[in-house]
Every structure is written in structure tokens, then in C-alpha cells.
């Protein structure tokens, strides 16, 4: 089947809340998903990602805006008229039907011939690694198996769009990692346009072509995982995607797009400054823990000085908490050799791996 695009256009959904009154679950959300693309809506709970997904599915009607699937305006179509596959967080398997019948359900609704149904059910169960499970019931299956059935049931109808609502959050950590890989592989193989919702940034980064970060009902930034990680547009995105140290700094000089700033009493060249930044302004540096290096103080006398306040040895990496005066810095150090470990209380010099450190204006939330 030809892959189609999904376009969400200025979609809003209001709720009346007992305490807060009228609140927007989603506010003027616009999202373009290209044919065959895997897009994830990522955000904390209550950010509107699930509401938006349910409006794409047709489970909820938007108060404003349009939903277009494959060039067709489906805003006023019911879910059963949209040709979508939906995978629920709780799997939503029909408890009164066998696994085979669960998967066959959408085909029976479409009046597919019996032999064809049997063939396709077999095929799709094999595809998700559950060949021979036709006659089991959902209460006899593990969480991971139930998730596969839910997936099989959604893709067997060859939907134009596949929608996932936090599909892995009921699974344990190990299974979650395995399943997200399977979902990604399957999506690639079927080349099916997919919209995925999760609050887990690592999961989002693992599966998506593109991520739309949402907060308080709106999309705050869109981009690939590395885009969001290396070029966050706001403190919210910087903090939500990965760990970060947000350090206040003073602009000393502006030259071209970049310039020089003072941070922790030391001057540092940065490749890009916010367009509005002038000399004397305060800005914030987005410093990832792995973008900071710490060295024993005696080797780094010219660098900002600090003390190791905490150390966690995690095998492949070491995490330090370093105090520089009032500021506490999270630092991650990889492939440290046994002799290189710094002790708690050790004085250190702090090195920033510039110059492509993202810089945010002071006032972004």
C-alpha cells in the first residue's frame, strides 16, 4: 500500500476542569508527518500528546482545526472510517475472543473472505513472533506477548497510519528496550506512516525519524533526536531531552553569529549566540554532562576550579557532581582508566568542550 502523509492543522481541544475551569488539552497544534515517516510526540504527562493522537485517530473531535490523512480531510470522520491502526497502552485485547479472533477482528469487519483471513492472521502472527498462538486467550499471555498481539491486530488491516499511545509503558525495562527495536524494525519493513506517543525521551530517540516535543498543549520544538539534543530551542527542551547543566553566562563580544562569553569567571568562545544577544546581556549555556571534562587541578590551573562533591562509578562511565562555588555541575566521564578516577573532595579544573555549545537567551522558560 502506498504510504500517505498525516497533517494536523491548528488543532485545539478544550476541557472544562472542576477547579481550573476551561483548559486546553491541546492548543493550536500543527504537525506534518510525511509518508512513511515515524514521528513521536514526546512530553510530560498532561502535555496534550495523547489528546492529539486521539484526535488523529478520531476518538475525540477537535474544537478547532483539521486532521488530514492522505490528503483527505477526516476531521469529521469517525475512527472506523479512517483506516488507522491503533495500539493502546493497556493493549485493549478483547478478553472474550481468542488471539486469532482478536487479530481477525478488523478483517471480519471488512468482510474479508474466510480463507484470506486465516492466511493473513497466520502471516501477521508469525511476523510478530507469535506463530501458533491463535487459540490462546489474552489472559494466558505475558505483557510482552499481549503487546505483540495488539500490534498484529493493528497492522493486519494494513492501515494507512499506525498510531501508538505509550505502548511500552506497561512493560518491564528490558522488554521495553527489546520491543521498541521490534516496533522500529517492523515500521521500517512495512514503510507505514507512524505517529507514536511517549513520555520517555530515550524511547522517543530510539524509534523516531523526528520528534515533536510538547508542553502544556503545544508543540514547542520539532526535529530529529540529535537536533533536539544538540540544538534545543528552549530550556524546557534542553532539560526534557537528556540531562543538562544550564549555566548563566555574560556576553562579552558578539562577532558574526557567535562571540565570547564569561562563565564561572572564565572566557569562552561560542559558535552561536541568540540573535538578540548584545554585549553585557546574560545568557544561559546548555552544557551536557558529557560536554564537560574534569581534570586534576594541578594539570589544569588555568581552568575554572571546583571540587568533586560526589562520585558514582557505573562501569562504562563515571558520574561526578562537581562544585564550583555556588554552582553544582553534573559531569559524565567515559572510558576512564582505573588510575584516572577522581576521589570525592579532590580539587579539579573544569573544561568545557566548546565551541558548539548551545546558548539560550535568559528569558526562555
Amino acid at each position: 500500500m502506498e504510504a500517505v502523509g498525516v497533517r494536523v492543522e491548528g488543532v485545539s481541544k478544550r476541557y472544562s476542569h472542576k477547579v481550573k475551569g476551561e483548559v486546553y488539552a491541546a492548543r493550536d497544534v500543527t504537525l506534518d508527518v510525511r509518508p512513511g515517516e515515524f514521528v513521536t510526540m514526546l512530553g510530560p504527562s498532561g502535555c496534550g500528546k495523547t489528546t492529539t493522537l486521539r484526535m488523529i485517530a478520531g476518538f475525540e473531535a477537535p474544537d478547532a482545526g483539521r486532521v488530514v490523512i492522505g490528503g483527505r480531510d477526516v476531521t469529521h470522520d469517525l475512527a472506523n472510517q479512517r483506516n488507522i491502526g491503533f495500539v493502546f497502552q493497556n493493549y485493549a485485547l478483547f478478553p472474550h475472543l481468542s488471539i486469532g479472533e482478536n487479530v481477525a477482528y478488523g478483517l471480519r469487519v471488512r468482510n474479508v473472505a474466510g480463507a484470506e483471513i486465516e492466511r493473513r492472521v497466520k502471516e501477521v502472527l508469525a511476523l510478530v513472533g507469535l506463530a501458533g498462538y491463535e487459540h490462546q486467550f489474552s489472559n494466558q499471555l505475558s505483557g510482552g506477548e499481549q503487546q505483540r498481539v495488539a500490534l498484529a491486530r493493528a497492522i493486519v488491516i494494513r492501515p494507512q497510519v499506525l498510531l501508538f499511545d505509550e505502548p511500552l509503558s506497561n512493560l518491564d525495562a528490558k522488554l521495553r528496550v527489546a520491543m521498541r527495536q521490534e516496533i522500529r524494525d517492523l515500521q521500517r519493513r512495512l514503510a507505514i506512516t507512524t505517529v507514536y506517543v511517549t513520555h520517555d525521551q530515550e524511547e522517543a530517540m530510539a524509534v523516531s525519524d523526528r520528534i515533536a516535543v510538547m508542553n502544556q498543549g503545544s508543540i514547542v520544538q520539532e526535529g530529529s533526536a540529535d537536533d533536539l539534543y544538540y540544538r534545543p530551542a528552549s530550556a524546557f527542551v534542553a532539560q526534557f531531552i537528556g540531562r543538562v547543566n544550564l549555566l548563566p553566562a555574560r556576553v562579552e563580544a558578539v562577532a558574526g553569529g557567535g562571540g565570547e562569553v564569561t562563565v564561572l569567571g572564565h572566557r569562552l568562545a561560542v559558535a552561536a549566540l541568540p540573535g538578540t544577544a548584545r554585549a553585557g546581556d546574560t545568557v544561559r549555556l546548555v552544557l551536557r554532562p558529557e560536554a564537560i571534562a574534569v581534570r586534576p587541578a594541578q594539570e589544569a590551573a588555568t581552568l575554572p576550579q571546583g571540587t568533586v562533591a560526589g562520585r558514582m562509578f557505573l562501569g562504562e562511565k563515571v558520574e561526578y557532581l562537581v562544585r564550583c562555588g555556588e554552582t553544582a555541575l553534573q559531569v559524565v566521564s567515559y572510558d576512564a582508566r582505573p588510575g584516572d578516577l577522581l576521589a570525592e573532595g579532590a580539587p579539579v579544573g573544569v573544561d568545557f568542550k566548546g565551541p558548539d555549545i548551545p546558548v539560550l537567551p535568559q528569558e526562555t522558560p
Binding site: H17, E22, D63, L78, N80, I84, F86, A92, A154
Partner: protein
Amino acid sequence: MASVAPAAGPARGLAWARQDPALTATVLVLWLLLGLFVVFPLAMLTARVFWDGGHFSVAGIGAILTDRHQVQAFWNSLLLATLVGLLGTLVGFVFAFTVARGGLPRWVVTAVDGAVLLPLISPPFTTAIAMVFSFGPRGLITYELLGLKGVTVYGMTSTLFSEALTYFPIAYLALRPILAAIDSNIEGMAMSLGASRMRVFRTVTLPLCIPGLANSFLLLFAASLADFATPLILAGNAFPVLPTQAFLQITGMFDLRGGAVLSLVLLVPAVAVFVLQRYWVSQRFYVTVTGKGAGQQPFESVAPWVRWALVGACLAVTIVIVYLYALLLYASLVMAFGANHAFTLGHYGVIFTEGFKAIRDTLVIAGFSMPLGGLYGVLLGYLVVRKAFPGRRTMEVVSMVNYALPGTIVGIAYLIAFNDPPVELAGTALVIVACYVFRYGPTGIRTTIALLQQIDRSLEEASQSLGAASGTTFRRVTLPLILPAFFAGLGVVFIRSMTAISATIFLVSISWTLITVKILENMTELSLGPAAAFSVLVIVIVFVVIGAISRGLRFFRAPGSEPVTSLLGG
């Protein structure tokens, strides 16, 4: 997002109606039926009371309120209901506590359940009749055993006794899950802090049960207030109560308006109790009944001697029940109870010849009411929980009205509403079937609502996302999952169609009559044998049908779903 509800979009207005024509049609038909069979009769009843010669009048109410005899009936009703509430709740609690905490063997519990079920599924006046057999002028105990002459069984004491015996199972069924759901660790904790067993009971167990006790008191109060047949048989002239007064006003004095006024007076305490029970007590439960027990083995929370006392009390009540029903069976098999105790099947001969019409009519009416009532309950419950349409809450409330009102009011309202054009249904089977469907179908509504609230909405959304329209989703996903509610609805409607009398006694006619009415006629004509035989027959039919339904329930039960153990437990 748990506490938010979708904002009603007035801008989109009737969008729901265009999107889902099947839903729209169903909603409209249901509203039409509710209007005709719930709202219209009550409006006609109220009009008959307050509308006199073309203008508003309270003269009818005034006449009743100044009649000493009727005022006495009002207070008698309240007194009787209060006492039945107290006594029935006490007995019900003793049973529930003994079963939950007594550490009884399983088979004993099953036997107790069986005996307790007996009054619940019999016609409501069965114990009243058996009381007459036992304690009447020619009663087994009063006359045969004690040789007393000229004793009278009629009056408040025996009415109270009979009603308490008939209705305490309601308290038992309401209290048992609550006691079972109390985490026994809480009691164990109190004990580990040094409290004695008695103190634990007094300071922990009992306080946790208080909302349940209040709830069961109100349920019993309402049941007694609405009970019509027991006082008619047992209360006698010295102890008039409202439902019987209303009945006598209409059938004895042909004063339809007076009956209407009396039934409306009955409405006041009935509505008060219903409101109190639904909106006050039910929100004060400490214990959430989930259907699962607390899990742990209850510890030895009852001292041995207390346990024996409790078991003894339960046993005594159970024996009284079994004795009364055995007496009923015996009376149906002897020539003339109290005079000639020779064995005969003659009474059964009588009911299957002269009384056959009543049996056939009752079965036809029950046969139609059962599927209609079951379907009505499931459909309305489903719409109310799962579908968004204007007036959803109102529909739920209106659907509960006939169920909550005493049968006497419903019966008189139907009598007034359907006796004359524009809707002349008096004397037809349809009016009786409608009465049963809208009066007992709501049990199915409640069960459906309770079940649906446990079934995650995503199941239906999954079906919809797979391409099924709302009708298909209902038929292939929702309906199989709420089948237990459907069967429970079937069971209740059938039982009540076989045993009810308070509303339908006003609706029977030459063309359509009911077994229960025949029993009452036989009792007043003192043909006790046929009355007993009819009663036994009803109980047997009800048992057989319930057995069949339970079997059907097991057959249809989804392989993955929870087992449904009792029809009446929910």
C-alpha cells in the same frame, strides 16, 4: 486528566445525531418509551390529585390529612418500616458477620445462602401465608400444638416478623461483601496494639460497617414501606398501612382519586429514603467492595463461645424459614389445613384446571417481560455509560423512577394513565408487561453500568479503530462482555414477573390475570390449599428458570472473564 469531562460543544450542536443515526434512533425510541411509561403515568397521577374540575386544588390532600384513620395509616407505615429496617438489618448483620468471620465450612455457607435466597425469590407474601398456617386461628403451633382457641395472628407483631424474615436477606447480601472486604490486617493491627476481640469489633469492625448498616436499614425501610401484600394478609383492620389503604380505597370504595392521594402521600417518605440512600449514605463508604476478598486468611477474630452463639442464632432463623416453607408445602398437600390432614393432590388439580388461566397468563407475561426487560436494561445502561448525547444523565434518572417508587404508586399511576384515551391499554397484557419492564428492567441497567465501568473504554476504541461502526462494536465487543448483566437482568425481571403484586394488582383484568393475584384472592376466600399450591408452583418455576439462566450464563461466559457466581449477588 481523570477529573475532566469533555466540554459540551454547543457549536457542534447536533453533530452526534448526524454522525451516528443508529444511536440517534435508539435514543429517541427510548425517550419515547420512558415518556409514555414513566413520565406520563406519574404526571396523570399528580394531575388527578391536584386537578379538580379544571383548576388546581389541594382539597383531595386536605381530606386525607384530616381523616384520622388515614393519618394513623401513615404513622403506622413509618413505624413498621422503621422496625423492619432495624430488625432486618440486625438479623442480616448477624448472618453476614457469621459467614464472613465465623470460619464456617464452605458447605455450611452454601446452605445458608440457599435458605436465605428462599424468601428473596418467593412471592413477597409467602412467609405471610405460612405465618397464618403456623400461628393463625387453626395454626399448627397455636391450635394444634398449644390448643389455643380464638387467637389472632393479625396485627403489627406478625406483620413485622413476616416482613423482617422476608427482607433481611437484602441486608445480608448488602453487608456480606463489606465485611469480606474489610482488610483483616486492620483488625489484626488493632489486636496487636492490645485491644481485646470485643474492643476490636466495637472500635474497628463496626465503625467500618456503619455506612453499610445505614444503607441496609434504608433498603429495608423502603422495602417495608412499599410492601403491600404482607400487610394485606397479616395486618388486619387494627393496623392499617398506606399501601393497603390505597388499595382498599380503590377496590373497596371505588375512589380512584382517594387512592391516588394516599399513594402520593406514600411518595414522600419513599423519595426521602431513596435520596438519602443514593446521595448520602452511598458516598460515605469506607470500604471499597471490589468483588475480591481482602486476600488474607481472616485471623481468629471471634471467640469460640461467640462463634457458637452466632452460629446458633443463624441456625435458628434458618430453621424458622425452612419450617415456614415446609409448612406451605404441607398445606398444599392436605385436604384442609387445620381440619383434615389427609393427603391429597386435589389442590394442584384445582390450580391446573380452574387456575390454569392465571398460570398461562403469568407465564406469557413473564415470557415477554423477561427478554424485553433484559434488553432494555443492557441497552439503556450501555448508552448512558458509553455514549455522549444530550440528556444522558436525565435519562438515567428517569429510568430509575419506576424502580425506586413503591409498586402501589406505579400501579395506581398506570391505572389512571392507561384507563382512558389517548392511550387506552387497560385490561391488556401489554400494560402489565410494560409495568414489569420499566419497573424491574432498571436492575439490568444498574448491573450493566457497574460492569461497563470495569471494562476499559479502549476495548471499544480498539474495535472502532479496526473499522467497526458503533453497532458492530456493540454487538461484537460490548455485548459479549456485558452478557452477565443481561442474564442477571433476565433473571430479575422473570422472578419479579412471577412474584410481584403491588403494582400489577391494579392492572389485572378478566382477560389477563396473575398467579399472585389468584393467591391473594384464595387467601381472602380462605381457600388456603390452592393458595399454598399456587405458591409452591411459583417457587418451583422460579427455581427452575434461575437454574437454567445460571447454566446459560456459564455456557455463554467468555473464557477469559471472571465467573459470575450468583444472579442475585450483584
